[in-house]
Symmetry: C2
Subunit: 691 residues, 2 copies
């Protein structure tokens, strides 16, 4: 019975994958027009220098779009544009900026305040030095780019065109816009309530006062087409083009996809091990000890190895030894004006003690309350489960058999819904805590969301495993939860945004077609920019990592009682690669690249999960009938041995963390060589000055 | 009976402290002559510049002594002295060097090859820049010293005399000597077998071929007198003069004494808590649960707080943000000549795989064998213990009662002896493993010694506590082990070297007095240098930290069954401060200062011990009759609850490690400010170049 339903689930998932595939293929091959740019307009984004592209287009190649509210005052717009255009020593950004012309079907309600920002090559190169970009030098090592040594870098030809990727150029422009600072203005011209003080980032103030709607980088359709072709258009078993992804989306994105791929590959041995286990020991719940031991070692080893992989990637991409820039306060941060003790600049200060009070007196109780609610929901689920079981016991037909799964499915849906609602609450609370730095905001948000999601998803499994101690029910619950949440996730993440975007695309094309007959079916620049401005904003890798984290939890915690979990997760990850790739390319606005050197706080989260997995697996081993018969004379001995073994493995785990270096040897040597060279150069300089 | 013997032990320890005190006072007040320098000769070590000090003395103030073997060839000596004197751009060290004149009673067997090394102020200042010294600048922050900005530093007056402490000058000279490199010499002139290659450190080759016996810095007797007065001469309850210790001995030493002091203070609440516990619950072995819980929290908190203390000290002394210099191969390292992949220089290479084989196939089995031997000795001890008990049972008199303690005392002595012998074996093995870097050598040595010492000292206690489960015996063993090892340690560490040194001093004075009648009872420079050359060499803080580590173990692991342990350790630490201070000042050669930013690998060792302490204390709680009666119905529940509580606390401990920042807020701000300033300076420089 159980086997049958599981089989149906697996079929469902597979079917889903294939329909999704088919959908993508259909879209890309059949519905080409709406998704490709005029090649002349932006294609070859590398030929940026002062090319007049189109009669109606700007006199430079646009890289970034700045959208102000449609009723923004003339005075404000003029002031901002001057700031962007001004020379650097006058406090400007020295960038090129132009207003976007009206679209083909210019309507009343169309926002006229869209501005295209670009820059000259010289400006971009000096910006690259400002942001501390690392590029490959002619001797093959990664070095911080400096204009003085520009000819020592690989691929630096002519006056530097083609040296920086479009994503890098966009990142530099964003950085330069972000560091546009007020000088002696006390408020934004035209908006008395938008206060400024010397040194305040203008863009952040405009964003927080909602005068500026958004800043986003433009897609490069030619490159995007190439990327999507090598990424997901051909059905193949090769690896993802991580370097291309990094080239187009930046290091943060590429690391996510790298991790997703690594995680999938890491699961393969487990899946291979799990299938025969599942097939031949199907109704024998006792023999999961071997699998639990395998699990233990697996989750310890793969995270350690990932650190090395991640370091290799980050070195290749030049973010490993890149210094972190000084962090600005986040746009939403507010407080009483004072002097920052670090920079000495005037900026709002917010007493730490107030923030701590908000965290411990409001956020913490709220999280606890939510956990309690989640617990209550779980109890209701167990009541339903009991009721379904009693119905099945009274009348064991096929339909009452199916009924057995209904509570789990409902519970899984409720869990997803609660996670979603809680997410908004957590964002609101973390915003209200008024963190000064984006990183601190992110850490608090991740912590809140992780604790709740962990409890929400796994509490029922822990309850079944260790309180009820019913391994059959555990297996059944795990399967239902895993499969339902996978289906829901794929739907929420890819299908829904895709259909919304498709509707928008269609509308835009229809609008254009109304006014003029398109020779080629491509959109003119003005329309394409407006189309992209309306696309959903990609909110970062948070949700993607969170999903992986929960999947990792399902696999590492309980997969010993349900070996097929690994197979399901592998299947899910494969479709996840495709759906994530698709949504990155065609559903969302292009995100700014993020020069990440590792997966950050998520490494910690996964490691915490692996520690919990060790404890859980040992507890499951201790509960297994096999082990129990071995220690049949004394339960005390059983527990003591289990605890001793657990402590031993935990100690081993920590020793392993020390023994396996986080950075592979050959990269360590390269880094040491760079450091040695800079020390030697310094010494020489000194001796020259001294002599 | 037990109480009585313990009382005797405590009295013994107290008596020991006082006699030691009295001895020190006697030496310092009554026996002044042999330990003070001629004030003119070296006192005011800060007035270094070209002062002709004495008719027979050198033309500069000597800082460091280089001792070659007495039969060193003229050719070699001349070559080395030229290297030291040569200009820097000729590959020399640009230092001042002179041969030490013969002593008053010049004898045949006296080594003539003692050389005094000094330097001009200009040279020392440029050396300070080379080694990356941090000094306090006029705005109160710690900055890397540079000659260009020398006037921005506090206390920099005139041409810089008095700016660097004598210890810093000596450190600089040592660094300059160490980095004297061979150019085109293929071997040391006069010694064909002492091969050289371009870039090889000359001093290290001379040391490894035993042509150079030693390099040591000279004491500054005036300053030493002041230091010892404020440190230990006056009986007082104030803190140690850590800044003065750092000024005279460098940061590594000062951090050790800081840690010793911190550890003693941290023990005070435990001692205060322990005394009434000990007095009123003396025969009630059940009530140690409260103490165990106290222990748990104590050992978690104090290590976290120490990190902050240590960071504060290191910031004040300018070592916190000091960059580590590039590490040279250690003198004993040998291998086949090749090219270092990092520096590109020619240097011996030794394949890592060979080293790993030596570690895993020889060292590891050897350590395991030693552990097995230690285990056998422990078993013999238990046999003896059983025999003594049977004697006491047959005839319970006072003397057979004393006999009960004899096995423990013998065992304690044997443990100390085994630790000592093993120490030599470990040093030999680690040397043989042929580590390239001193730090890697140290880590492997520490690991070997720690594992063995931990097992050797605590195995019997663990055995008694968890296998025999006899808390009375545990208490008795702990007391005997602790007290015996303390007495032995104080004897080995302070008394023995002191008497040896005293004999040497006396001999030297007698020799001088034979030849000439001293007007003042002070030694002339030549004799003083020879006297110091003969003093024992201080081998670093290894043994001192090891002793503290074992004491920490006794207190944190088992003090709940013997609350007086904390009191004993406090007493021991107080005498330790005095005996260590005394031996540093009067028994050993002055050590070169070591710019440490923290206590290094010992922090890790203490943290590992605190984790073990958590597990042990929970196990002891689980074994306590009090808890057992509470869970009288089910032993399984008892164990499960204990394990759950232990896991909870362990998790809390790790969370605490994240929550408590390692560096106090105000220092974080100062560091951030420095970094921000350097970033801003860089940006300005760029804009200047660009504009």
């Amino acid at each position: 019975m159980l086997a049958f339903v599981c089989f149906i689930f697996v079929c469902c998932t597979c079917f889903m994958c294939f329909t999704f595939y088919a959908a993508i293929h259909f879209i890309i091959c059949g519905d080409h027009c709406s998704l490709t740019y005029s090649a002349g307009a932006l294609g070859g984004g590398m030929m940026l220098q002062g090319l007049s592209v189109d009669s109606s287009g700007p006199s430079f190649t646009p890289l970034v779009v700045v959208e102000l509210v449609s009723d923004a005052k003339e005075e404000t717009i003029g002031w901002l544009l001057n700031k962007i255009r001004d020379q650097q020593h006058d406090g400007g950004a020295e960038l090129l900026v132009e207003q976007l012309g009206p679209g083909v079907g210019a309507q009343e309600k169309e926002n006229p305040n869209l501005f295209l920002v670009g820059a000259t090559w010289q400006r971009l190169l000096s910006g690259a030095e400002d942001v501390g970009l690392f590029k490959e030098s002619t001797d093959g090592s990664m070095r911080a780019f400096t204009c003085a040594n520009k000819h020592n870098f690989k691929d630096f030809g002519g006056d530097g065109d083609g040296f920086l990727s479009m994503a890098e150029c966009q990142y530099i422009i964003k950085h330069e816009l972000d560091t546009l600072r007020a000088k002696d203005e006390t408020h934004v011209p035209g908006y008395k309530q938008a206060k400024l003080y010397p040194g305040k980032s203008i863009i952040r103030r405009l964003l927080s006062k909602r005068i500026l709607i958004q800043i986003f980088p433009l897609h490069d359709k030619e490159e995007l087409k190439r990327l999507s072709f090598s990424w997901y258009k051909k059905v193949k078993l090769s690896l993802q083009p991580l370097d291309d992804i990094r080239h187009y989306y930046g290091e943060g994105q590429a690391l996510y996809f790298g991790f997703l791929e690594y995680f999938t590959f890491a699961l393969v041995p487990m899946a291979l091990f799990g299938v025969p286990y599942y097939l031949f020991d199907w109704e024998d719940y006792d023999k999961y000890v071997v699998f639990a031991v395998f699990n233990l070692i697996w989750c310890t080893v793969i995270l350690e190895l990932w650190k090395r992989c991640s370091a290799s990637l980050a070195y290749r991409w030049g973010t490993l030894s890149r210094k972190k820039a000084f962090e600005e306060p986040r746009p939403g941060f507010h407080g009483v004006l004072g002097f920052n003790p670090v920079t000495g600049r005037e900026e709002p200060l917010y007493p730490n003690i107030k923030r701590q009070l908000r965290i411990y007196l409001v956020s913490l109780p709220f999280v606890l309350l939510c956990l309690y609610l989640s617990f209550c929901v779980m109890m209701v689920y167990f009541l339903m489960e009991g009721w379904a079981l009693s119905v099945y016991d009274q009348e064991p037909t096929f339909w009452t058999g199916v009924l057995l799964f209904i509570p789990s499915i409902i519970y899984a849906v409720v869990i997803e819904a609660m996670n979603l609602i809680y997410r908004y609450a957590a964002e609101f609370l973390t915003e209200w805590e008024n963190h000064r730095l984006e990183s601190s905001y992110q850490n608090h948000l991740v912590l809140k969301v992780l604790v709740f999601n962990f409890f929400n998803c796994f509490a029922s499994l822990f309850y079944i495993a260790f309180v009820v101690q019913d391994m059959v029910l555990l297996r059944q619950s795990l399967a239902t939860l895993l499969i339902t949440s996978q289906i829901l996730n794929q739907f929420m993440e890819a299908f829904l945004p895709y259909w919304l975007q498709r509707r928008r695309n269609k509308k835009m094309i229809r609008k254009v077609q109304k006014r003029r007959i398109l020779e080629d079916k491509e959109l003119p620049l003005a329309e394409q920019v407006r189309l992209e401005a309306d696309m959903s904003t990609y909110l970062g890798t948070f949700d993607d990592y969170l999903e992986l984290f929960l999947l990792f939890g399902y696999v590492s915690l309980f997969s010993c009682v349900y070996p097929l979990a690994a197979v399901l997760v592998v299947l899910n990850n494969v479709t996840e690669v495709y759906s994530d790739a698709f949504k990155m390319c065609h559903v969302f606005k292009r995100p700014f690249s993020d020069p990440a050197a590792n997966i950050g706080v998520w490494q910690l989260a996964f490691e915490a999960m692996s520690v919990i997995a060790v404890v859980t697996n040992f507890a499951l081993i201790g509960l297994s009938p096999q082990v129990k018969t071995y220690f049949s004379d004394s339960e005390t001995h059983l527990i003591l041995w289990t605890v001793a073994a657990e402590h031993g493995l935990m100690a081993f785990k920590f020793i392993l963390t020390f023994l396996i270096p986080d950075i592979p040897k050959h990269i360590q040597i390269k880094l040491a060589r760079l450091e040695f060279e800079s020390l030697e150069a310094l010494k020489k300089k000194r001796q020259l000055h001294g002599g």
